[in-house]
């Protein structure tokens, strides 16, 4: 009986592994954690939210949340969870930035519409890895679009460029220090 319950509990484990920085849930949370585990497989990561008021002043938008990821009190990356508009609905994505504000990874967390979801393609999102300047993050130039998903490609590309720019401005203004993280 005990063994049966143990097996069942392993199969139907209700506890969501990993960390939950943002108010994500369900599939979006699972996707975010999968990315974090894949990037730092054996490390224990903590997450601190950036003060929203200070963030909104610089980014001038309330569609993004910024977090600092740390391992044993050393900052290893910044995580931005942002939302951009497709044709009719918002979609949610995450961007991992290195401490020098270079894009490490982009992942689509939630896409609500029936068309344009191709931007979730992991292969397509790899185009952004290593970029650190808004001059590089331009659709039709360094970033190739996806036929039939131009609206969402343009929207996420602009969102990523804005995020890069905003985070670099925060860093150059010394606003990424401890006092701004909760």
């Amino acid at each position: 009986m005990a063994i049966l319950l143990l097996i069942l509990s392993l199969i139907f484990s209700p506890v969501e592994p990993g960390i939950n920085c943002s108010n994500l849930s369900g599939q979006a949370l699972r996707k975010m954690n999968k990315v974090l585990v894949a990037t730092w497989p054996n490390e224990s990561i903590t997450c601190q939210a950036y003060r929203r008021s200070a963030f909104a002043e610089v980014f001038k938008d309330d569609k993004s949340e910024l977090f600092r990821l740390q391992n044993e009190n050393a900052t290893i990356a910044y995580l931005l969870i942002s939302r951009s508009f497709g044709k009719f609905e918002y979609f949610t994505y995450m961007i991992l930035f290195s401490t020098s504000i270079e894009i490490m990874r982009v992942e689509l967390l939630e896409y609500r519409e029936d068309y344009g979801g191709e931007i979730g393609s992991k292969k397509w999102l790899r185009q952004f890895i290593g970029l650190n300047s808004t001059d590089q993050i331009v659709l039709g130039d360094q970033i190739q679009g996806i036929s039939g998903a131009t609206i969402s490609c343009r929207s996420i590309t602009a969102g990523i460029a804005d995020a890069c720019n905003g985070l670099q401005r925060l860093q150059s203004s010394h606003l990424l220090d401890n006092s701004n993280f909760e």
Partner: protein, 399 residues
């Protein structure tokens, strides 16, 4: 007693995090719902339109031009919840014909599995699904997507669609009602094949279902390729209230339908300023001989066609990086034959073996508005002298 202890412990272990989660639900909903309340409402509306001027030319013959509000189509959609939505397209063609182009309920189980039911767009070729004027070159849609893929091809049915982000693949699979080949009078003919058999959701008759499927791959940057398949018998009103013990009635009904199998392959490529498209379709009609005898017409056994289009956006050469304006010059070569092979008793009509050449310019000051000019040379195997036509058009969409 021991067994109950384990069971209680197990249930507590399962349920405890659930109660914690429930307490967090308000916090979870907080950000999402406040965000959504700042977004557009659950109902959304958009529109696209196509206005044309077509001017034929001919050696020694004068022609009038035609100006037409070819299409005005409104999108109306509603988001019932995160997973359940409704989408429709209501179309007014040539100012006085009103149709529904799409009316579906979608339910999302996951990225990979989504349900769609209603009046669905058949996933065959590029234009049938992506036909908003600013998304294609040329004033008119390619003729391949008129004669062989009878666009806008939509029928009532239901099925699944989804995508895989790791494989960069998306798919659609529907069961739909088929073309009507007889509804009191025969509907299909050799020049336009299945086009007149489209039921478009207008009190469609159904005597047997059809299958429509497409798979697309977009893993290579800039390239999207698709493969489509359609199979089913056409529908006939002669099956309605048919006495199943009457072999003559059954034979007559069977002669009024044909089997349809269509294959499609399409590709779209974009890199910097270069854009290219290609599509090929192959159609097999089973029972065309019997149908032609029944309907006194000239339906083919096989039809096929393809087109290749190349374009270049010259504004990409200017370094205005975030500007979405486009100035594209393009050329399209199309070959389509609705009489590739015919059944015994029917003669091949060489006039149905057509070649069209289109050269044009598309100017888009922004992504949602297109001014188009193109020149077409249309010829066929019977009359090698091309009929020429100048087209000027305005296309737009907003959402």
């Amino acid at each position: 007693m021991k067994n109950y202890t384990y069971l209680i412990a197990f249930l507590a272990w399962i349920l405890f995090p659930a109660t914690m989660h429930a307490q967090d639900t308000n916090a979870v909903q907080g950000f999402q719902s406040s965000l959504e309340s700042r977004t557009k409402s659950k109902a959304h509306f958009g529109m696209y339109g196509q206005l044309d001027y077509n001017q034929p030319f001919g050696n020694g013959t004068r022609y009038n031009g035609t100006l037409d509000v070819h299409r005005l189509v409104g999108f109306i959609g509603y988001k019932f919840s995160d997973k359940l939505s409704f989408m429709s397209e209501i179309e007014v063609e040539h100012v006085k014909e009103i149709y529904i182009e799409q009316a579906v309920i979608n339910y999302s189980f996951s990225d990979l599995f989504n349900f769609r039911g209603g009046l669905v767009l058949i996933p065959m070729g590029i234009i049938n699904e992506y036909h908003e004027p600013p998304t294609f070159n040329g004033v008119e849609r390619p003729n391949l997507d008129n004669k062989i893929v009878p666009t806008t091809w939509r029928e009532l049915g239901a099925g699944l669609f989804g995508k895989s982000n790791s494989a960069s693949i998306k798919y659609q699979l529907y069961v739909v009602n088929g073309f009507a080949s007889y509804d009191g009078k025969p509907k299909l003919k050799g020049e336009s094949l299945l086009r007149s058999g489209r039921q478009k959701g207008v009190e469609s008759l159904m005597s047997s279902p059809a299958l429509a499927a497409k798979i697309e791959h977009y893993g290579i940057n800039g390239l999207k390729v698709g493969l489509s398949y359609y199979a089913g018998k056409t529908q006939s009103s002669l099956y309605n209230e048919m006495d199943t013990d009457n072999p003559t009635a059954a034979m007559r009904a069977d002669s009024s339908v044909v089997g349809v199998r269509m294959l499609g392959a399409d590709a779209r490529f974009k890199r910097k300023g270069l854009e290219a498209r290609a599509q090929a379709n192959y159609l097999i009609i089973d029972g065309a001989g019997k149908y032609n005898a029944f309907a006194q017409t000239d339906l083919a056994t096989e039809a096929m066609g393809y087109y290749i289009e190349l374009g270049y956006d010259w504004l990409r050469l200017c370094h205005k990086k975030r500007n979405t304006a486009r100035l594209v010059t393009f050329a399209r070569f199309e070959k389509y034959n609705t009489h590739h092979s015919v059944p015994e008793g029917t003669d091949i009509n060489p006039a149905y073996n057509r070649t069209d050449l289109t050269f044009g310019i598309t100017f888009m000051p922004l992504e949602q508005v297109a001014f188009k000019v193109d020149y077409q040379q249309k010829s066929n195997a019977l009359d090698k002298t091309p009929a020429n036509q100048l087209n000027i058009g305005l296309g737009f969409w907003f959402y």
